[in-house]
Amino acid sequence: MLTRLSEPFLQVTDLTYQYAPAKSFSLGKQSFTLEKGKLLVILGPSGSGKSTLLQLIAGLLRPNEGEIIMGGKPIHHLPPEKRNLSMIFQKTYLLPFLTVGANVEIGLKLKGMPSHKRRVRSEEILNQVGLTGFYQRPLSSLSGGQEQRVALARSLVIEPQLLLLDEPFSQLDPLLRRQMGSWISDIKRMWEIPMIMVTHDREEALALGDQFLILRDGAEQQSGTLDNIYYEPANRWTADFMGIDNVLDGIKKGTRVTTFLGDLKVHPHCIRVPDGPVRIVLRSEWLQLDFTSSIKATIEGCSFRGEYTEVKANVNGESVVIKQLGLSNYERGMETGVRLATSNVWCLPKEVM
């Protein structure tokens, strides 16, 4: 990152926030950068401070320390309405006494745009979110997903420089969630708007994000690209949080590590992990059942999860979880073999765990 010549669009440096002194929770120093047209996902369990961070960027909370620079200008001292950004909350906060159109154009009205221009712009943006002809409708006629799209339109019509999303779809059903996710991706591409999204949903995060920041109890656990957080968990907690099912003991020696699955090659980024006892984190989708494999396994049980089958198998007295695409039915106690589908494995020093 430091080698880049141009200034990043958004630069957050050492942002900290402390709630009332009596409360123990505080958000430790947070720093990150964000480029135009990228989506940063702030991921973490509830109470990790992810919403706090978002509210600091929005200006709804005042940071104790640190600075936020957007488009080359510091904005951390500005009130929220002067920051030229937009935020979408869990609830839509559409005003029930106004029509769809009036809700969408309210930001333009606040800027003093004349009403006929407002109307043209709002109808245009309603078209883009797939709500053509909804301008005159009362709010009560909308479904949940439509309401979210109106809220999105309202936030986009003021052409914000940055869009903040605070678990925007958590109240929608899974199908709508996925749809709204692809809307967000489309808008990001078409408008080149940088976005920051807060979520605790791993799947949604991985599907939408370009950059990631994982928080726990107000402290950063890991940040980086999709590859980083998918393949290279920084510690055991992140590995668990990112849904890595298999954590195995092993002895590392140089570029190899010895485990009950055999002698494996270590990921090049892990070379610096000191030799000796380590833990190997292994995604269940990297293991496959294979009769011909030399690593023998016994099936302990399996359950179908809609798209894949989760198989529990016993290898050399240790339990591992394996994901098989599609529906498969294995009988308990069946003898089979396991094959590793990756060329190298990620390992963590034992004391970090």
Partner: protein, 276 residues
């Protein structure tokens, strides 16, 4: 779910009759007396005369002045109590966490402490500070129950208010005042109008404070009513009662219309319900 149409209708009509007679019956003698010249014992209908009403509406009667005094006092009381109550209610409902309940107890206590106790104490106080026998003193005394009542009503609104609406609008570029005008005020509207109307009513029907603090210099409608009561002129009493009830009637009609229009409340109510 009308399985039992006929029965349903009958019991509904019965309920209706009971409610109407319960709540309206007491007004019948009042209304009748206001049009009575004489109403001797066994008669069910009085001999009719408009005397009382003519007196109420005559230009040289005390009644007109009393009505104007009451109206003016109630209007000023109502507006002032909103001005004082609004910021306090907002602060308590949204921001003040520590001591919240205690502060509320102190602010709301005057509603539940009997008027006679307050009136006597405040009378002595105002005698000392020279506020008694004055318009200002009476106004201040009317504010004593009105402000807590407004705080109570408005606090109820802010305790269940989702500040997210305001956050959202600040982020869309609205300043503090615009947020107030476009978001807060429309959402607050029905509760605020209730608060305005009820603090008006508190002042309008105030007798003890007016008579103690005003010392008889400021004649209001309730004072006239009490003096008529001791004079035994039932016809005038009936007519005055009718005038006295009028604002209350307007308020009921207004609030029942207001409640229906309140889409926001309806939506919130259904959201609160955990199962339906």
């Amino acid at each position: 779910m009308r399985r039992n149409g006929v029965n349903h209708g009958k019991s509904y009509a019965f309920l209706h009759a009971i409610m109407i007679s319960l709540f309206f019956l007491p007004f019948i003698p009042l209304l009748a007396w206001s049009f009575a010249q004489q109403w001797r014992f066994p008669d069910l209908v009085p001999t009719v005369s408009e005397r009382a009403w003519l007196y109420v509406f005559s230009t040289h009667s005390q009644v007109k002045d009393a009505i104007f005094n009451s109206l003016g006092l109630a209007a000023v009381t109502s507006l002032l109590s909103q001005v004082v109550a609004y910021p306090a209610a907002r602060a308590l409902g949204l921001y003040v966490k520590r001591w919240n309940k205690t502060i509320r107890l102190l602010l709301i206590a005057p509603i539940l402490i009997p008027g006679i106790s307050i009136a006597i104490g405040v009378h002595v106080l105002f005698l000392h500070s020279g506020l008694s026998d004055q318009w200002l003193g009476v106004l201040l005394s009317h504010l004593i129950p009105a402000i807590p009542y407004s705080i109570y009503l408005l606090y109820g609104f802010y305790a269940g208010y989702d500040i997210g609406y305001e956050k959202q609008f600040r982020l869309l570029g609205a300043g503090r005042l615009q947020t107030f005008r476009l978001v807060e005020l429309p959402l607050l509207r029905s509760v605020l109008s209730l608060s305005i109307l009820f603090s008006f009513l508190i002042s309008w029907s105030q007798y003890l404070f007016t008579v103690f603090i005003g010392g008889g210099n400021l004649i209001t409608l309730p004072m006239l009513l009490f003096s008529t009561l001791s004079s035994g002129d039932y016809s005038l009493m009936g007519a005055l009662c009718m005038v006295f009830v009028l604002p209350a009637l307007i308020i009921v009609i207004f609030s029942s219309i207001g409640v229906k229009k309140d889409l926001f409340e309806e939506k919130e109510a259904s959201r609160v319900d955990p199962i339906v």
